[in-house]
């Protein structure tokens, strides 16, 4: 099966990787985390979210982890996802790429103020 190419890294995939930095999350958790880190601008729907998750799993950038069932959550068995080393590396390199881009933007004086 040919692997889904992740270059350039789609915005949704990058945000999912960022959301998983530091904690394992299930789908809804990822969605909320992405919404928070983008101040509500990106609200991942189920199609985009699980499509991206599937790709990231195939590329071994994230992995599924077993988590004990949440006692407060009825019978809902949720799948949790964790960032792999490769995923962390890719997220870092993408962040660095964006930082480079930001430096160029600053050098060209297209940013108003210096708050970024």
């Amino acid at each position: 099966m040919p692997k889904q190419k992740l270059t350039p890294l789609p915005s949704a995939a990058f945000h999912i990787l960022l959301a998983l930095v530091g904690e394992d999350l299930h789908g809804y958790g990822i969605m909320r985390s992405v919404a928070e880190q983008t101040e509500g601008r990106m609200r991942l729907g189920p199609g985009t979210l699980y499509s991206s998750i599937r790709t990231l799993l195939e590329e071994e950038l994230i992995e599924e982890v077993d988590r004990p069932r949440d006692p407060g959550a009825k019978d809902e068995r949720r799948r949790y996802y964790r960032l792999t080393t490769a995923g962390r590396k890719l997220a870092r390199s993408e962040a660095e790429r964006l930082a480079d881009l930001l430096r160029v933007a600053r050098a060209k004086n297209i940013l108003r103020g210096d708050y970024v």
Partner: protein, 459 residues
């Protein structure tokens, strides 16, 4: 309820996606629905979901195709090649029924859609093209109306005959051309059927020569369709086709000629008893002759009655018809023109500032030579009860067809526009216009003057 809808929407995804993430997606939906209460939040939730569907569906199916494209036929254990398929599971009964129903609907609707397409305007239907009845500035062009009257240039070649194979080829080309160019595809099909049926019956063998065959085919098409514009013409002399796109600007020669003949305004006079008399021998291009027309109408502004002498008028441009007719109304009036679709330009620019002619009696003198745009002018004013026609029945040669070469000196005449006549199906094409007062053309002016006198006495 909304969960049910979402479950249904999930079925739009490939089954593999549903199997792997269907439950998770449903769970995500539940979570969001639980945390997004209130009507505005619900709207936002569904907005997000539908947007997500639009974006992610093609992506998922694209992925399925990539997977499929990567598959290659491989031999099974018994040597029979097997293939990967989109959906690993066999389709259930419901999808099969749905598929069958969808196929049935498609099979039924495709021919219907095709019928609707028949009414699509032809590709060369150019609204920007200013129509003319006759080609005053393109003298070499052969108007179809003349061809219909039997003035086709004849040479020895017209006496040649066609063998059945060649004749069949001409018929096929004619049919293709008619279907491509004629405004009414139903008529085009009727014409095609008639041509083929007559050919099969051997009716065309009665034609003694090529020209007779062309005339015979023309009559066959007209009998089948009732459309007098359809034409198969044989002309040994080449007939230039009208180029697609906007018409060329009036040539210098045309301008010079119009200047020489005062734009065909032969006489603009005020007769005794304050009767205006305008002898107009054409309706020239308004872009060249507007000033002349305005001057003529201004000169006649104070008359008590107006006589248009169109006995020698050989037609011209609908724009000039509208321009002159504008003086005869105090409100915009619809001027039916068979060559044009109804547009804003179909109405006269009435009232004309300072004009006093809008309520004056109008008489139009006609002869059997009055043709084309002159017939449009006469017909419209007669139908609008704005003018009294005095003279002879007009020529009845209004609708010059567009000629399309189909090779071998044959031309097919079709029309690209069929305007809806508000006064009935037939206008003056072929039949001419009956005058209100029928007199010999040379006596028409005298008869009109007597009518003016009578009317004045009645006042």
């Amino acid at each position: 309820m909304s969960e049910k809808i979402f479950r249904l929407l999930l079925h739009l995804y490939p089954s593999r996606f549903r199997q792997e993430y269907g439950k998770e997606a449903l769970q995500l939906f539940r979570d969001r629905a639980r945390n997004q209460k209130g009507s505005w939040q619900s709207v936002r939730l569904w907005f997000d979901l539908l947007g997500d569907l639009v974006i992610s569906l093609p992506h998922e199916y694209g992925r399925s195709q990539v997977e499929l494209a990567g598959a290659s036929p491989k031999a099974g254990p018994d040597g029979i090649p097997t293939f990967f398929v989109f959906e690993p599971a066999s389709p259930g009964r419901r999808p099969l029924l749905f598929g069958a129903l969808l196929s049935l609907i498609t099979f039924i609707s495709v021919p219907r859609l095709h019928e609707v397409n028949h009414f699509r305007p032809p590709s060369n239907w150019n609204f920007a093209r200013a129509p003319t009845y006759d080609k005053q500035d393109t003298a070499p062009q052969q108007p179809a109306s003349e061809a219909e009257q039997g003035t086709v240039p004849t040479t020895r070649r017209t006496n040649a005959t066609l063998n059945p194979t060649a004749r069949h080829r001409i018929i096929e080309k004619a049919i293709a051309s008619i279907k491509q160019h004629h405004v009414d595809q139903v008529e085009a099909q009727q014409a095609a059927d008639a041509l083929l049926a007559h050919e099969q019956r051997g009716d065309d063998n009665g034609a003694a020569n090529i020209e007779q065959f062309a005339r015979l085919a023309t009559s066959q098409m007209r009998a089948a369709t009732g459309s007098s514009e359809l034409l198969l013409l044989y002309s040994p002399n080449a007939i230039p086709e009208r180029a697609p796109g906007p018409p060329p600007p009036p040539s210098a020669a045309y301008r010079d000629e119009m200047q020489r003949i005062n734009c065909a305004f032969e006489r603009v006079e005020i007769l005794p008893h304050n009767i205006g008399y305008l002898k107009l021998n054409a309706f020239p291009d308004a872009s060249v002759c507007q000033a002349t027309a305005t001057a003529a109408m201004t000169k006649l502004n104070d008359v008590d009655a107006l006589i248009f002498d169109l006995r020698d008028n050989r037609g011209g441009f609908p724009g000039m018809v509208s321009l002159i007719a504008a003086y005869l109304f105090d409100h915009p009036e619809y001027m039916y023109c068979p060559l044009e679709n109804t547009t804003a330009a179909s109405w006269t620019h009435s009232p004309v500032p300072g004009n006093k002619l809008s309520n004056k009696p109008v008489y139009i003198l006609t002869s059997s030579r009055t043709i084309s745009a002159a017939e449009q002018f006469s017909y419209d004013l007669k139908m609008l009860k704005r003018a009294t026609l005095v003279g002879e029945t007009t020529a009845g040669g209004g609708h010059a067809a567009n000629l399309h070469s189909i090779g071998d000196h044959f031309y097919v005449g079709t029309i690209e526009v069929r305007a809806i006549n508000p006064y009935g199906k037939n206008d003056w094409n072929d039949t001419g216009i009956e005058p209100d007062v029928k007199v010999e053309a040379p006596d028409a002016l005298q008869a009109a003057l007597e009518l003016v006198d009578k009317q004045r006495e009645r006042k």
